[in-house]
């Protein structure tokens, strides 16, 4: 057992070589190495993020991400000049797919941050304080959960003017209750742990108990769930755009591009294929990361 280190370690070991230090910052690192899906997913995900960040410098026609029209070169098939071909107004699809990473990732980050903040706040308050606050907060959460999430998002996005930002808000609106439930369950079980009693006996204030003990211990499963959800959010955002309720042209949003390419699927396959593939790749990458993290943090596998 490498974990059961003996009582007396040589003092020189305290400094530790780099790999040991990484394990200290994040104790799960040692086990992360043993989950190949997590590595593959992280690499793919990092590529998508990098592509989005570096889009203006790595794309051949950055101006095509915006409202430009090239009437002379509409619907050109993939070639050396246009790797993914051009769309119906002549814009370079490779450029637009790469820029699309920005839009999709922006939506994912926005939805995750908003729903995690709201969900954790509501859930931790309910689970930690219990009593009537718990009942009120959880009944409100249940009301949100009572509607089919996609339908509620669609309805909300339809009320707001269609844009990527509004689509993100509509998705976050239906997304946070899941985190609230998860966080509530965690907080309620943490409250019964010995270390919660210990904190009280030591005289920790409620704020300190929440911030130092409940939040860090409740957050892990929520983070894992967030990484699992990233793929779902990309798909939902794409769905809203596809239905015309999300990003609008000229925004290079993958779902929107698929919708625009659909009538041309038989004559210009590249218009729909490449953005569709981008959605698939990103969703798979995030799913791998989520599954991998779940494996790493699953206490039953004893890897944590």
């Amino acid at each position: 057992m490498s974990r059961q280190t003996p009582d007396l370690l040589p003092a020189a070991d305290l400094a530790g070589e780099p790999r040991r230090r990484l394990s200290r910052i994040w104790p799960g690192w040692g086990s992360a190495k043993r989950v190949p899906l997590l590595i593959i997913g992280s690499v793919l995900g990092a590529l998508v993020v990098l592509a989005g960040l570096l889009a203006p410098w790595i794309t051949p026609y950055p101006q095509d991400a915006g409202a430009v029209v090239h009437p002379a070169q509409t619907l050109l098939a993939p070639s050396a000049a246009h790797w993914f071909g051009t769309d119906m107004v002549g814009r370079d699809i490779f450029t637009r797919v790469i820029f699309g990473a920005r839009v999709s990732l922006g939506i994912v980050v926005l939805v995750l941050v908003v729903s995690a903040v709201v969900g954790l706040t509501v859930g931790l308050a309910a689970g930690f304080f219990g009593g009537w606050l718990d009942s009120v907060l959880m009944r409100v959460t249940d009301v949100f959960l009572a509607f089919p999430a996609l339908l509620l998002s669609v309805a909300l996005a339809a009320v707001l003017s269609p844009s990527a930002l509004h689509a993100a808000m509509a998705i976050a609106f239906t997304w946070w209750p899941w985190y609230a439930r998860l966080a509530r369950g965690q907080a309620a079980s943490i409250r019964r742990q010995g270390y919660s009693d210990a904190a009280r006996v030591l005289g920790a204030s409620r704020t300190r108990q929440l911030v130092r003990h409940v939040l860090p211990n409740a957050a892990t499963p929520v983070f894992v769930q967030m990484s699992l959800d990233a793929a779902g959010i990309i798909l939902t955002a794409a769905t809203l755009s596809y239905l015309g309720l999300g990003a609008q042209d000229p925004t290079p949003e993958w779902g929107l591009m698929v919708a625009q390419g659909q009538p041309l699927a038989t004559t210009a396959w590249w218009v729909i294929t490449f953005p569709g593939f981008a959605i698939l790749l990103t969703a798979v990458a995030f799913n791998f990361v989520g599954d991998g993290l779940q494996t790493v943090f699953d206490p039953k596998r004893g890897l944590r």
Binding site: T5, P27, Y195, D197, A198, L202, G203, A204
Partner: protein
């Protein structure tokens, strides 16, 4: 002699069900050990939780150093938290899995701000040294420690505030025999070095015998017998104490069972709570709850205490 901790007529309930029916405890200033002996379900842990204000008291009084503990609030409660600390039954669950040993042990120092930030690391090192742990354990997390190491970390954390009273709830029951011995030696050492008073909760008579001047035997939330530990164990008067005493296995000794210990016997609603299991039971035991009274230098709650005492004499 003034008492550090005085508990009188303490009653505790879970919802409608009362689990502790009027318990008296007395702990003089340290070094002194009071043992609470009883099997699981006897209300020992609930008493410990009530002493630490983790469980609300139904009625009765708890006085610490002259102050009414049950009424403590705000800064007075905070001061009480510095003076009275708990060592948990299960060292594993008592440590936050996401906190290093350094963070865990220095947390009380941070909460009460008794030690300046810059000196906390040094203080933690001294505490770890005191409980016999290597200093480099500071950077480890609970799952990287053995059960005995975790229990010592819990003790170090409890000592950080220099408490005057320690409540030890089954501190060794989750540990191997050899590790138990080291934890017991640690408590013995602390007791003399720190002039510590403590309440030790255990089902292990040998542990109580070694560490506690006086003891209380608890059955179903009521005191059966209390007095000096030596008297209690050498010449138990209450049939329940006698049963506990005879149930201790000793190597090479085949002691005939004095009485049957029937696990899961029902608790009668009237009379002596032990009457269902007692070999000396009379009609009066079932009809009337015996009060604690002095019998041969100790307190016994038994209608037949005099008969047993005469038999022994």
């Amino acid at each position: 002699m003034s008492d550090l901790l005085l508990v009188q007529g303490l009653r505790l309930s879970y919802g409608e069900r009362e689990v502790v029916h009027g318990v008296d405890l007395r702990v003089p200033a340290g070094p002194y050990g009071l043992g609470i002996i009883g099997e699981s379900g006897s209300g020992k842990t609930t008493i410990a939780r009530a002493l630490l204000k983790l469980h609300p008291a139904g009625s009765g009084s708890v006085t610490f150093d002259g102050a009414d503990v049950l009424a403590l609030k705000g800064s007075a409660l905070s001061a009480y938290r510095r003076d009275v600390q708990l060592v948990f039954q299960d060292g594993d669950g008592a440590l936050d899995p996401r906190m290093s040993v350094l963070s865990s042990v220095s947390e009380p120092l941070a909460i009460h701000d008794t030690v300046p930030k810059a000196q906390r690391r040094e203080r933690v090192a001294a505490l770890l040294d005191e409980v016999g742990l290597p200093i480099d354990i500071m950077t480890r997390y609970p799952h990287q420690l053995s059960g005995g190491q975790r229990q010592r970390v819990v003790i170090a954390r409890a000592l950080a505030l220099e408490p005057r009273l320690l409540v030890l709830d089954e501190p060794t029951s989750a540990l191997d025999v050899t590790v138990q011995e080291r934890v017991l030696q640690l408590v013995e050492g602390l007791r003399e070095r720190r002039q510590l008073a403590y309440v030790l909760i255990s089902h292990n008579l040998a542990v109580v015998d070694r560490l506690c001047e006086s003891s209380v035997v608890l059955y179903e939330g009521a005191v059966m017998e209390s007095g000096p530990t030596r008297d209690l164990l050498d010449s138990p008067v209450h049939p329940y104490t006698r049963a506990l005493r005879s149930a201790v296995p000793e190597i090479g000794v085949h002691r005939p069972a004095l009485t049957r210990i029937t696990a899961g016997a029902s608790v009668p609603s009237t009379g002596c709570p032990y009457s269902e299991r007692c070999p000396l039971v009379l009609d009066i035991c079932r009809a009337q709850t015996p009060a604690l009274r002095d019998v041969g230098g100790r307190q016994v709650a038994c209608h037949r205490a005099d008969d047993v005492a005469n038999l022994l004499a």
